[in-house]
């Protein structure tokens, strides 16, 4: 029997797939609660791994990865912060937003925020529409489209 998390992810993933098709993003399902999403920027693809276990009680964990989803947060996978680069491209290497589990210091030591309550993440005033998987992906996709300037290190 599917868990509540699996049912929510399945329902939200259907919306995300429709948005991804319209936007030209790639989605690779991994498990019932995890997937990869790829955003194109010129000749580069920026890949993000989403692990949504315990969602929506907790926000998903979003981390930089490769197209195979077998390496994480390495410099050749992580967008560099440059000029007007997005605050998502945080120097700590985490995607910094209330809807990313890894932004919370209590979860990941790189997480910049010990001032956010992860149990109340959907009411964070800085959520910015990241209430659904598609909403989170839209924010990421836009940041990559508008502000990606290359990776920290060439592949």
């Amino acid at each position: 029997m599917a868990t509540a998390t699996e049912l929510v992810v399945e329902a939200e993933l259907a919306n995300l797939l429709a948005v991804a098709a319209a936007e030209g993003w790639q989605i690779k399902a991994l498990t019932t609660t995890s997937f990869l999403i790829g955003f194109s920027s010129g000749s580069d693809w920026v890949w993000v791994h989403c692990q949504a276990d315990d969602y929506p009680g907790l926000p998903p964990a979003w981390r930089w990865t490769n197209a195979a989803g077998d390496r994480f947060d390495e410099d050749d996978l992580t967008p560099r912060r440059e000029g007007d680069a997005s605050t998502f491209f945080h120097p700590n290497g985490v995607i910094c937003a209330p809807w990313n589990r890894l932004s919370y210091t209590s979860i990941d030591s790189r997480g910049p925020h010990n001032d956010w309550d992860i149990g109340d993440w959907k009411r964070n005033s800085q959520l910015g529409g990241g209430r659904t998987l598609a909403g989170m992906a839209i924010r990421l996709g836009l940041e990559v489209r508008l502000r990606f300037r290359g990776f920290r290190q060439a592949a």
């Binding site: 259907a14 319209a22 605050t87 800085q126 529409g129 209430r131 839209i138 924010r139």
Partner: protein, 87 residues
């Protein structure tokens, strides 16, 4: 049966939102803010958010401009995004 012709003064737009894709016809003289309002209602989006509409890399701003002034055409794909959240 042939579908009735759409009025010349209307365009159909596909709008990606956080709750899925929304397709609707708008008067060419409608404003971008009308798209946002329609999407909020149709896709049950949170009114407390502030939204932007993008066509590719272009933000359709200011939102009080008409659709025709942005040269939108039938079938265009737009992206509706809440602002903020990278911190």
């Amino acid at each position: 049966m042939a579908k009735p012709d759409k009025p010349d003064n209307e365009i159909t737009l596909n709008i990606s939102t956080s709750n899925g894709v929304f397709t609707a016809s708008f008067a060419k003289t409608a404003k971008v803010s009308d798209i946002i309002e329609a999407a909020i209602v149709a896709k049950n989006l949170d009114r407390s958010d502030k939204f932007e509409v993008f066509k590719g890399d272009e933000a359709l701003e200011p939102v009080e401009r008409t659709l025709v002034s942005f040269h939108l055409v039938d079938g265009d794909e737009l992206l509706l995004s809440a602002t903020g959240s990278g911190v």
